[in-house]
């Protein structure tokens, strides 16, 4: 099996229902076995190109094509099976319920005889490093494992061209490395041509030999060996949101690093254990326990740790959305402002002004049909009256640069805009504590910088911030303290955590030893 050759001459595509073409005037020649990284700002048509190469853009019903795009001299839709595509969302690519069946799916579609299918499945799983039994349920896989499963499914088809559309965007750092190594291994073994779209250049820099930058206005901006293109276009790309190692986003300015002298404790946890209640059972199963933490106004705390240690569960419990499984969690008078000390007992409306939560997937929080109404939900639930609500909404629209989207449906926004909107909705009711679950997941550098700047402003205003995150840069830029969760000793055991000062003002993260402390002291 050799690599496929990709050629394009004057190629363009316009999606049905839109007035401007997504791609236009594209000329390309990619030789068999080459490894290419495709970059470009949002809207440059990178995804459209990937989908076209895989032959899944659709037919007359879905849009209009101009020019010519060929894989091995034939149209992509005529060479299904020669091209494999891995997409961004791990959950939307799993077809069947068992690992082996899912990998075999592609082979079945290509009419590979049964005797040949299962050896291919085994080979593909080995190539991506998924050492799991064939009957393992696919719903029990982590994000990184699901992406590797999708890759295995593609590899089992023995394609000549492997396309990856932001494969690591929704993965934690561990998953990112897993997937990258799996891709490298398999492409080296098979000699297939590789085309990757990603906005984290550092991950793929040493895997690819060639970088192509697409121009949103049509055609190609730059095309050549990795180092050349990155040094020539690096700055411009970084400004457009690509993560170029040499041009990192500027850290925010904090007026009062590590809190002001007027800092007050808002939430205290002592010996807290958190967990969820499984279906049809009464008692919660603890995932993390014996945690001590104090959240102080004007400071940012980061919760870090490997997958499965219960970070999200801890954040949701601290936010008053889940009931603690044990131990003691109490809001001080400064936060509770007249209510009882247990946040999970507060009414939903009372939470609005005290603790705001931003979920990992912004779409889970959308309730209304327009951005404006979405922002107004919080103030209206508080009974603030139309005039005050409208004022707050307009101020937020302006602050987060969502003015021009005020009447759009929230689901039609881009990823970065959705993230900004979900943060904005929480700010509309001015809570004293802000809890964020993976706020920088999958964000390009521009959105990242905006978010960090916004949070820095909030911290200066005296809001406390709690963030669950994998992102070390985020921790370095903002966090004053960090709680690191480590998996329990026994298998299935409960995670424990240790608090350390993160020293945001020093600009580096230096975790203290495993001693447990009963609170954080703003340094």
């Amino acid at each position: 099996m050799t690599g496929a050759r990709v050629t394009a001459s004057g190629w363009g595509w316009r999606h049905a229902g839109r007035s401007r073409p997504a791609v236009s005037g594209l000329d390309l020649d990619i030789r068999p076995g080459e490894r290419v990284l495709v970059l470009g700002p949002s809207g440059a048509g990178k995804s459209t190109l990937m989908h076209a190469l895989a032959g899944v853009l659709g037919d007359d019903e879905d849009g209009d094509e101009t020019g010519e795009l060929l894989v091995d001299g034939r149209r992509p839709s005529a060479s299904r099976g020669r091209v494999g595509l891995v997409l961004q969302d791990p959950d939307s690519q799993v077809v069947l319920a068992r690992v082996g069946d899912d990998v075999a799916f592609g082979c079945e579609n290509l009419a590979v005889p049964r005797a040949e299918i299962w050896p291919r499945v085994g080979q593909a799983l080995a190539d991506v490093g998924l050492d799991l039994p064939l009957r393992h349920p696919t719903s029990a896989l982590s994000g990184g494992q699901k992406q590797r499963l999708a890759l295995a499914g593609v590899l089992a088809m023995r394609p000549g061209l492997v396309l990856l559309d932001e494969p690591t965007a929704n993965l934690d750092p561990e998953g990112v490395v897993e997937v990258r190594d799996a891709v490298l291994r398999s492409v080296e073994a098979s000699g297939a041509t590789l085309i990757v779209i990603e906005h984290r250049v550092a991950v793929w820099q040493h895997v690819v030999d060639r970088v192509i930058v697409l121009d949103p206005a049509g055609g190609i901006l730059a095309d050549g060996p990795t180092d050349l293109v990155l040094s020539a276009e690096g700055e411009r790309l970084a400004a457009a949101g690509v993560w170029i190692p040499r041009f990192p986003p500027a850290p925010p300015e904090r007026k009062h690093p590590s809190g002001t002298s007027a800092a007050e404790a808002l939430l205290r946890a002592e010996g807290l254990s958190v967990g969820r209640v499984p279906f049809a059972r009464k008692r919660a199963v603890a995932v993390a326990g014996d945690l001590d933490l104090t959240l102080v106004s004007g400071t940012a705390t980061a919760i870090t740790g490997p997958n499965g240690t219960g970070k999200s569960t801890l954040a949701l419990t601290l936010a008053g959305l889940l009931t603690p499984a044990g131990g003691h969690l109490a809001a001080t008078d400064a936060l509770a402002a007249g209510l009882g000390p247990a946040p999970h007992r507060w009414r939903s409306r009372d939470l609005l002004e005290r603790i705001g939560t931003v979920f990992q997937d912004p779409e889970h929080q959308f309730l209304a049909g327009t951005v404006r109404n979405e922002l107004a939900i919080g103030p209206r639930a508080l009974g603030l009256g139309d005039a005050v609500s409208a004022e707050r909404v307009d101020a937020l629209l302006h602050r987060l640069r969502l003015d021009h989207l005020a009447d759009a449906n929230p689901f039609t926004l881009s990823g970065g805009e959705k993230r900004r909107l979900s943060v904005a909705t929480v700010l509309a009711t001015r809570p004293r504590l802000l809890v964020l679950d993976e706020p920088t997941f999958g964000q390009d550098s521009r959105t990242w910088a905006e978010l960090v700047r916004l949070l820095a402003e909030l911290l200066d205003d005296g809001t406390a911030v709690l963030a669950v995150t994998h992102d070390e840069q985020f921790v370095a830029a903002l966090a004053d303290a960090r709680l690191t969760l480590a998996p329990g000793d026994a298998i299935g055991g409960v995670s424990t955590g240790s608090v350390s000062s993160a020293g945001a003002s020093a600009g580096s993260v230096s975790p203290a030893g495993p001693r447990r402390r009963t609170g954080t002291e703003p340094s």
Partner: protein
């Protein structure tokens, strides 16, 4: 996520071809639906009870899964006793309500019928893996593969959204609209949640369709099957047992004179 993907213990019944199990459920349901009488329902129920030992479910799973049937039967009995067709001596009457010997007999028949139809349907399919069912439908019954696999993929996707439901409910609590209010606001919340799930599911469905197409799905090439679905002797035997139960129930009812053909 036990709703969609049952935990199937390895048992004899789990190895039977799902198409055979489907056929049994079909035969029994059709046979019992043709008449409303307590004899056919009781005979079928008795025979099914004997076979329950081989059903492959633990006691807890059995009662949990058949709960809908046990809830529904008493309600149906009650409704029929009060409002069913009347015949024979009147036992109690007030306005619309009239309890007669005839309506009581009918109610008994209805209750037994619900149990006799519902239980085998649930039990047989609770031990069926959806992928195996799909294989059986496409390979044994030769239903179009595109639709069977598309349906399977949809089933998997929606199974995921039961987890999403919890996240969405938590998000609503965080947005200040999670609780309070009477029936109307509860209904509106439920509607909002259901709609949000529908949106998420349709979007995921579109993305999954693209992924499936990228793996060669949907073309006109006849596909091969990695897992073979065989309809063998054992499966034929199971179907025969089902047919036997259906036939016995009908015969006994006809002989007892209580058979009352619905369409007559």
């Amino acid at each position: 996520m036990s709703l969609m993907t049952p935990e199937i213990r390895p048992s004899a019944i789990a190895r039977v071809n799902p198409v055979a199990k489907l056929a049994v459920a079909l035969l029994i349901s059709c046979a019992l639906m043709l008449s409303i009488d307590w004899v056919s329902a009781a005979v079928a129920l008795a025979l099914e009870a004997v076979l329950l030992a081989w059903c492959g479910l633990s006691a807890r799973q059995f009662w949990l899964r058949t709960a809908p049937v046990w809830i529904a039967a008493p309600f149906a009995v009650l409704t029929t006793v009060l409002y069913g067709q009347d015949s024979g001596a009147v036992l109690f009457g007030a306005g619309f309500v009239s309890v007669t010997e005839g309506s009581v007999a009918l109610a008994l028949a209805i209750g037994l019928r619900i149990l006799a139809i519902g239980i085998p349907g649930i039990v047989l399919l609770a031990t069926t893996d959806p992928t195996d069912l799909g294989d059986g439908l496409a390979q044994v019954l030769r239903l179009p593969a595109r639709f069977v696999l598309g349906a399977l993929a949809g089933l998997r996707l929606v199974g995921m959204f039961i987890d999403d439901w919890h996240s969405l409910a938590l998000a609503r609590r965080a947005r200040g609209v999670g609780d309070g209010g009477g029936l109307r606001s509860r209904a509106r919340r439920f509607g909002g949640l259901a709609f949000a799930l529908l949106v998420l599911s349709v979007r995921r469905g579109s993305k999954l369709a693209t992924a499936m197409e990228a793996r060669g799905f949907g073309s006109d090439i006849p596909r091969t099957w990695a897992r073979e679905s065989v309809f063998g002797l054992r499966d034929g035997l199971v179907v025969a047992i089902g047919a036997g139960i259906a036939a016995t129930a009908i015969t006994v009812a006809v002989l007892a004179g209580t058979w009352h053909f619905v369409l007559a």
